[in-house]
């Protein structure tokens, strides 16, 4: 007999879980299912809704806009995630160093994370502004460029701007994840390495990095999923332009919703969902799910 408590306890337990289940069912699973269903229909405002099976997905295959947003999302993820991991690691190392300013530093580092993406989007919009922006002030001031750079006016510039803004916003989060991993490394290992005459760089590569690997993998997957579904920053900073070159998948789907095409928009968001889901599975495997609760 498995149960250590009587039936009453079991029912009570499920009752405790019920509200959470109900809420998630109603406001997460149902919408996702609904979106999935919508993606199988032709559903454009003012036109009658009609089931077309995989029709939307077939059109997607030959839709340059879709591929462009897929390319951008992929490239964005590929560039920003390693950047944020490396930077985050550096920050974590700095934050771990015991000093009296630690609390202050951590609060400061949390600020970018705490500020809404939409707000930081506008700040960076100003920073990259052609006339007044800080970026141009620096660049022309140092002499890197003669005239003001039209950052947000070129695809490359907009891309870089987004990467920079995203790095600013999310590096703190990565840093905090890695900080937990760093704190878990026992001091003794460093002592041993010192005794073995290993310099600080060697200690980093021999002790820190290997032991940090599981946390790094977790952070990598976590950030990848987040990067794939980026929306807020893109919407505010570049609006997806110029010419749709910085439209993320989320934004692409959003466009169709706003335009009244629920069918196609849903199909795009389902593709994104599947991508994120794939990485979530990897993430769950990597984080040795549930260990902590057990």
């Amino acid at each position: 007999m498995r149960k250590d408590h009587d039936l009453r306890d079991l029912l009570k337990g499920y009752a405790f879980l019920a509200p959470v289940c109900a809420l998630l069912l109603a406001f997460v699973f149902l919408p996702v299912a609904g979106t999935l269903l919508d993606s199988l229909h032709r559903d454009v405002s003012f036109l009658p809704r009609r089931f077309i099976g995989l029709g939307n997905y077939r059109s997607m295959g030959s839709d340059p806009g879709f591929w462009q947003s897929l390319r951008f999302t992929g490239l964005f993820t590929l560039v920003s995630v390693p950047l944020e991991l490396a930077l985050g690691l550096a920050f974590a190392l700095l934050l771990e160093h015991p000093t009296s300013a630690r609390g202050f530093l951590r609060a400061g580092v949390l600020l970018p994370w705490a500020i809404p993406a939409a707000v930081s989007g506008r700040i960076f919009e100003l920073i990259y502004n052609v006339q007044y922006g800080l970026a141009n002030a620096i660049v022309t001031g140092i002499g890197l460029s003669e005239g003001p750079v039209h950052w947000l006016g070129t695809s490359a510039g907009a891309f870089l701007a987004l990467v920079a803004a995203d790095a600013w916003k999310t590096t703190p989060f990565v840093a905090i994840l890695l900080l937990a991993g760093l704190s878990a490394i026992p001091e003794d290992l460093y002592r041993q390495a010192e005794v073995d005459r290993a310099g600080p760089l060697e200690r980093f590569f021999r002790v820190t990095l290997p032991l940090l690997r599981p946390v790094l993998v977790v952070a990598l997957l976590f950030r990848t999923i987040d990067s794939l579904r980026v929306f807020d920053l893109v919407f505010v900073l570049t609006g997806g332009g110029p010419g749709g070159s910085t439209t993320s998948l989320s934004m692409y789907g959003y466009r169709f919703f706003v335009g009244g095409d629920f069918g196609y928009g849903s199909a795009v968001s389902v593709v994104l969902f599947l991508l994120a889901f794939l990485f979530s599975l990897l993430y769950l495997r990597a984080s040795r799910f549930g260990r902590e609760i057990e």
């Binding site: 007999m1 498995r2 250590d4 408590h5 009587d6 009453r8």
Partner: protein, 367 residues
């Protein structure tokens, strides 16, 4: 009978498979008695306590509290802990850290929605009985181990439970405090005359505190009796070894008949048995027996009569009032507890073996 266990078994299921923590245990605790569950760690004694409390439900069997059936899986009966009016003092004391001492002791009364005035009186009464009346405003974090234990006890007795459960209450105290607390617990139990189930692995506690003791091992109850019964007539070699100031010596002895009388052969020695002892040995119906001799019964004698074993002293430990001497003999190494002059290492000594008061066991029962 206040508490009875009938054929109680408890098996835990985990990834490693099934773990039978308690097997076929029968117990009957009388009202007002201090009943001790004694045994090595892992023997199932704490599980029995949790079963009595209702924190676990048995896999099979029946538990009755004051005549009322409180657990019987076959009949689908299970009474929850709060309905049993049973109190428990945990090994960790489990004091509520967010409440002060008064709040802790008053907790069960408040849950039962008692009136504040009577609660205050009851708490004061319990606190003074435990000598912590002046600590009522303190927080558990500020108290010493001994004080925390008193608060835990006060919380347990404040609602006059019909069963009082204690899980190794003295093991977290330092040695000096233990003896004093032991005496206090006994006094308290007498004063309240509450039926008490007490779990410990320390045989001294069991022998000094218990009205009756149940010796447990690997989920089973080996023997139940008064401390004296367990000491004088252990039914298994394990009981002999576990109980007593030092483990019982177990000597291998052959049984043979000669001149119409039963004899034992120990090493080179041959001993004729008295009729009474012969009767005990005959009952075992075996050619070899394990002779159980307590170290405190074996005497180092200058001129011992038979039976005696000669041997060389291997070590002599100084225990203050006594000495624990190990002697290597033809029959094996014997430990002797002596309060007299101790021989030195290397000395040759003669040991008088008190066959009459020795215990006899079948050889298979020893390990």
């Amino acid at each position: 009978m206040m508490l009875t266990f009938h054929g109680i078994s408890k098996t835990f299921v985990s990834e490693r498979g099934e773990v039978p923590a308690v097997r076929g245990v029968d117990l009957a605790v009388r009202e007002g008695e201090l009943f001790v569950l004694l045994g090595p760690s892992g023997c199932g004694k704490s599980t029995v306590l949790s079963l009595a409390a209702g924190l676990l439900s048995p896999s099979s069997g029946e538990i009755r509290l004051d005549g009322e059936l409180v657990a019987a899986p076959r009949k689908k009966v299970f009474v929850s802990p709060r309905e049993r009016n049973v109190a428990m003092v945990f090994q960790s004391y489990a004091l509520y850290p967010h409440l002060d001492v008064f709040g802790n002791i008053a907790f069960p009364l408040r849950v039962a929605k008692g009136k504040e005035e009577s609660i205050t009186a009851e708490v004061a009464r319990a606190a003074s009985m435990l000598g912590i009346g002046d600590l009522l405003r303190a927080r558990p974090g500020e108290l010493s181990g001994g004080q925390r234990q008193r608060v835990a006890i006060a919380r347990a007795i404040v609602r006059k439970p019909r069963l009082f459960l204690l899980d190794e209450p003295l093991s977290n105290l330092d040695a000096a405090l233990r003896a004093a607390t032991r005496a206090e617990l006994k006094r308290l139990q007498r004063e309240l005359s509450v039926t008490t189930l007490y779990v410990t692995h320390d045989q001294t506690e069991a022998m000094t505190l218990g009205d009756r003791v149940a010796l447990m091992r690997e989920g089973r109850v080996l023997q139940v009796g008064t401390p004296r019964e367990l000491y004088e007539t252990p039914r298994t070699p394990f009981a002999g070894s576990f109980i007593g100031p030092a483990p019982m010596n177990l000597l291998d002895a052959g049984v043979f008949e000669e001149e119409g009388r039963l004899h034992l052969r120990i090493g080179e020695e041959r001993v004729a048995l008295s009729p009474r002892k012969a009767g005990e040995v005959r009952q075992l119906a075996t050619g070899r027996v394990l002779l159980g001799l307590r170290p405190e019964q074996v005497r180092i004698s200058g001129d011992p009569g038979p039976p005696a074993l000669r041997g060389i002293v291997v070590s002599a430990e100084y225990l203050g009032r006594e000495r624990l001497v190990s002697v290597e003999t033809a029959g094996g190494i014997l430990t002797v507890l002596t309060d007299g002059e101790a021989p030195n290492e290397g000395d040759v000594v003669a040991l008088a073996l008190p066959i009459e008061t020795a215990s006899v066991f079948r050889p298979e029962e020893g390990e």
